[in-house]
Symmetry: D2
Subunit: 440 residues, 4 copies
């Protein structure tokens, strides 16, 4: 029985199509730079927003029309139905991957044992559906922030019981991720931070977080889970301040506690902007340290101060993100996971499809435009030329080689007299080139 | 000849005084928690704002009435006069320390040799004045951002000539800092960042910054400069994005390049808030990693998006900052440097004194209140109790000891059934205690 | 049967008390400037947060322990129980006023008729409880933003049915407010704005909002409701942009549509800051136009971009707010309504009391300090002197009288030659005075 | 003698051109929707940034290479030379209009009389150059914020002398604007606001601002200046809070003081965003009240909190701005004035040309895309349909006609039972349409 009987598989119809249920730019099998669009982009749907999202916000309850939800007889059946609807949706929207939290997919029940039994029952359905559809698991994660027991955090909770429950959840989710063939496990510490510094021992909490991650790394080895661990930065919300503020805070933490070889970054656009960064900055920053793992694709509104998780729309942003991803060598285990939700007033299930079409077309455009910028070559050539004095001068080479000294360079500087200016940055010219490639 | 003939030494007159040129709260010799206020606070005046500040802003030129400036016959004499006026000011305001940039204190002249000769001439005056007044140098720094040659940065410039000039400046300033008995050297990378990511090779620039700092560390060893190196975070302004964004970005950089044993943080309040953090967060964060060096004391306006460098006024802020400084063990080489400027319309030299009185009294209050909070003990006792399950349970101790495993903790969690909530965070009660201590 | 059997009436015990369930600064009957604290402050509790608040946030469900909620047999009984608990709370915390939304106090049921019957049943309890306790209604309002029918707004909905439902709700709430002796009715347009300008006809929506308010004004006349109408600014959240952005937007709207004689402002601290203003600015701005009505007392966190509705804690803010309220002549119909909620981890009902104690003590301090600033007189005297040239010069008086001309003033200016600077703004000196009065 | 001998007139070469000194999208004579691009866009160059901009910022002096500046023998000659260079630049870049401040174009000298004589001498050159080139004056304005006498504001200064000087400047600038055939005069109140509310009498200051504008309106009548007055919103910077915060604040002020028939808005993109609005919002908002006058075209960086005045680059923004301008009926007296500056590291005069090419091409694209959206019709049709219930129902028509009552609508609502949801907002579908039109 279909949840979307009126919607057939969403197909590529080209830029001129006025069919709202077709791709105009995402053509999965089209080859760009030696790989298909699908291989480059590795799109994923977030189970939580896609199938669990209700449209609720702090000022009103859900609006989404999801008739299959009300049809279910009990929580566990509802969870299984949702799973089947989700895979039908993925098939019809041509979505190759998905991601989930444990609490998204199965009801928590009264006890941990109930929860684990529910997870087993639902993931059995998922395994079947993966088999049937070919949709694959990109990564799994545990929700360690919604249950009231995590009100002060999970691994960073002031209470060891909360820590223990979190450990139990991670253990189970990792096992399920392995069983489902997932290629990654993500830590997003929704409440791993503080609400008020007066009641917080920050060092102690961060020590505990490190202990927690080490346990996870050890358990992965023990069970042979070979997927990549990801750490997802977000500066704030729900808490006032989160320890995983941005890539710098995350990577510093990993280095400080000897975790840098086991964990990479899962970068989200809207989290980057809440921390004052562009997503391209965060991708470049992680990439240059070998720490780029995966990307949560969405968009924020820079005039709003909370996480709006909008579907990607702005092709400047998708182009720059794809440019940096390509420069970092593209994805290995990771992908572009749409951690995005339809606006509350977009409440029909047609809107579900249209939202993903928006996001997938925007990133397909971004890929094509990023490749065009690289192939055009003017920008890269300018950047290369810009730093050339570090290759063309002896002392430039010594600086890069780590053998120059202050005294030697002071002597060089004295000899330069009144030096020439260092060359225009040509920002406006480069921006014109970008617009030419985007709109020409 | 006095620059401030009408102003006598500013003295402590107690909270009831209506003399605008007296301290009401800062009583340098008063002993608090075993040390004098002066020893705890280690106040410093920033040479640049105090004596070079004109009140100019992007929408208008300077307003400050500084008659000694116009009286000078030539740049070098003006520089020397400023030095003498500055030390008179420090004496009269009871300021024990100061900080400077090389370009603040001496004219750059036409060539590097001119600049260095000017620096020698002016620092000779400084040495005399230090001797005469007992005022000491907290730290020195080089201005590597104003000269047009640094338009793209200095250590991170795309051009090796700019790097070489920067090296020459740092070398000289370090020598002068040593000669003047300074206990620190600060890196603040005004333009060590980018304006536009399209024209920037971020990895290359950050590699160069690390090379630069290593050279400085090596040169310090060579000349026997034993002061502390500081790295000062600021997220943006003048550039769009700076590599020294916040403590996390700075410390991650130091760890990545093997510099963490040589450099500590110089934390500025207004820079912290521009990065989305409170200053108390940054102090706690640096302190817990052993990286707290010094503090640039000022205040921002959280409704404004640029660095306003106001004199500290808010006693909540000074109390929380002092609480974290005391918790981190207080200052060793560092101090509280007023990187603060009088508002443009506060243009008289009486305003100079009143501004410092505001700042010094606000921090004296902060010290007294922070000590009172610690002595009161209710807050600290609550925090200690809050984490006690990590001591009172066997598995809590194993988590802290690093020997717990996910499997073991999952077993514990199963045994807990439906666990109790983890205890109220009591934020509002703690805030009432803070207000009681501040206003009671 | 008491909901809070262990809590007795919260009493004033003075600044030294360590009893967490006592006032340290709020002494209701203490006379300040000719009125009691209670008369000046006119505190009110917001029914929605106080008794309906669960602690839920976008990342997790409620945490608050409210045993009376789970004890109720059905929605209507639960609503009545909540009413009784609320009035017990008001009695014990010495709260003289309250405010409510229609949907807070009674279940909506299936139809409008159900809802209205439920409202009648619950407000009958309220009327009894008001009688019993002496607690009075400050203002009522209709919730026109939570029900999915208002997803696009209510008075500004694209659909006339939503408009009609909103009209029905306002009509009923106004009748109930009159019946309960309320002295005001507030419009807060939670979704009166847009999510996306591409799908919005802004002029049309604002025209409709004006039509709606005119109908309400007319109906008030018809039924003899003589309370004050209030319009509450908020710039955004839940929508991207709200038409009641700030006082300027609201008052401009009222003037444009001939509503300025019927509606005043209800100013909320955290809404002001989300719009980029301080609350003292908004109070001064409304007050100078005769538009100050009432104040929603809470506090935001300026490093967070959403409405956190914290209990007031910062005495600088409460002092400045009270200073402006006193300058505007104090409250007539309005008051200080705590539109504030305990933090999610403050989940016990002791925290309810402690939260209000924090808020009430903070505003009592603010009142006392504002009065002290006025009595001290130095700040007001400086401000008066600052503008004195508009009284002491002939042309100054003509400017104020509206009779000066450009040509005449140009002649004056020519005669002034190189004029003196206009006098220091003395911001730092004034801030020192404020700190002296707050902490001296 | 040419200032730009190597640069010939910048011509349209079409989207494929790789000539950095050609237009790719701006084709002045191309007809779009019945008018040429030049007629629609009415581009203007801001004299201040274009020819006076040095690249200085708060952290460093100017960088711009402008050899003609250093060649001049004295301030007045320099001013004349700059004028000639500016008109050559306008010719070569095909700029039809310009705008100026009085202090941009002539040195202030020692006295007002000097300044006025200088203005006369320089504007004589301008008059000639206008004649020679056909370049026209869009609007003039007086700089009432840079001179230290305006440190507390001009019309809102606490000192009547400053007010008188400001009056003299406005009088003269209005006369010159008339002489040069300018079609507007703009008020931008750089310091018409406050730095600190403690030392400010806001009502008094705003009263004075109104008196000032009335004098200007009267003087315009007196001398027969028939250009349009504009009021330009900016929320803050340089002051903490400006009275012309946004369009709402400006229009409310105009209505409150009876100025609404004489003054329209001059809306600047970066000022809008600093106030928390998009520029399209501000254009729509002003337009719906008949208050759209002119637009200062630039772009801000939403991750930075100050006015960066970048050249327009983002075609989403230019498209939305042009869409709203077209919907408001296009420009009459106003135009698109590039209040934009090249980045500090774009210091060559080739960068001047490239910067304007970026801005002009971006707005030409915006015009073409906005027209395409309108011609496509899908978005407008959806919006029209969305509000149709106000035409198709009797009570909808009565709401719009102002004859509906709460009682009547309550009856309607009762009859609706459980109403249908109001229709999806379809934001994501509309955004896909926008991307199709921009990139298809």
């Amino acid at each position: 029985m279909s949840a979307f009987p009126e919607v057939t598989k969403v197909l590529y119809e080209g830029p001129a199509s006025k069919n709202p249920l077709a791709f105009r730019f995402y053509n999965p099998d089209e080859v760009v730079e030696g790989k298909t669009m699908a291989e480059h982009l590795k799109f994923s749907a977030a189970y939580w927003h896609t199938i669990c999202g209700t449209g609720a916000d702090p000022f009103g309850p859900g609006t989404m029309l999801r008739p299959w939800d009300s049809a279910a007889c009990c929580p566990l059946e509802k969870a299984k139905t949702r799973g089947r609807v989700f895979f039908e949706f993925c098939e019809k929207i041509q979505m190759p991957y998905y991601c989930f939290h444990d609490t998204d997919i199965a009801p928590e029940g009264e006890t941990l044992a109930d929860f684990q039994a529910n997870l087993d029952a639902v993931t059995a359905v998922f395994a079947e559906e993966q088999q049937r559809t070919g949709v694959k698991l990109l990564w799994g994660t545990s929700n360690l922030f919604s249950n009231p027991r995590y009100m002060h955090g999970a691994a960073t909770s002031c209470h060891a019981d909360a820590f223990a429950f979190a450990a139990a959840q991670v253990k189970k989710t990792m096992e399920l991720t392995k069983m489902l063939g997932g290629s990654g496990y993500t830590f997003w510490g929704g409440r791993e931070g503080y609400q008020c510094l007066w009641n917080t021992n920050m060092k102690r909490e961060i020590d505990h977080l490190a202990a927690f991650m080490h346990m996870a790394v050890n358990y992965a080895k023990e069970i042979g889970f070979t997927g990549q661990f990801y750490f997802e930065p977000k500066p704030k919300e729900p808490t006032k301040h989160q320890y995983d503020y941005d890539c710098a805070a995350c990577i510093n933490f990993l280095r400080a506690y000897g975790l840098e070889d086991y964990v990479k970054m899962n970068i989200e656009t809207n989290h980057a902007t809440l921390a004052g960064h562009t997503v391209e900055h965060e991708i470049d920053y992680a990439g240059m340290q070998g720490m780029l793992g995966s990307v949560d694709a969405n968009a924020g509104d820079l005039l709003l101060g909370w996480d709006t998780d909008e579907f990607p729309f702005n092709v400047y942003e998708t182009t720059f993100a794809m440019y940096e991803i390509l420069k970092a060598g593209g994805f290995t285990n990771g992908g572009l996971n749409f951690d995005s939700k339809s606006r509350r007033p977009s409440y029909t299930y047609e809107d579900m499809f249209k939202s993903f079409i928006l996001g997938m077309d925007s990133f397909a455009l971004g890929l094509v435009k990023a490749v065009a910028i690289i192939e055009d070559g003017r920008i890269d050539a300018f950047v290369k030329e810009r730093y050339s004095s570090y290759e063309t001068t002896e002392y430039g080479r010594r600086i890069r080689g780590g053998t120059a000294t202050l005294a030697e360079l002071a002597g060089i500087a004295e000899g330069l007299g009144a030096p020439a200016l260092p060359g225009s940055g040509r920002q406006e010219e480069l921006e014109s080139i970008v617009n030419q490639i985007l709109f020409g």
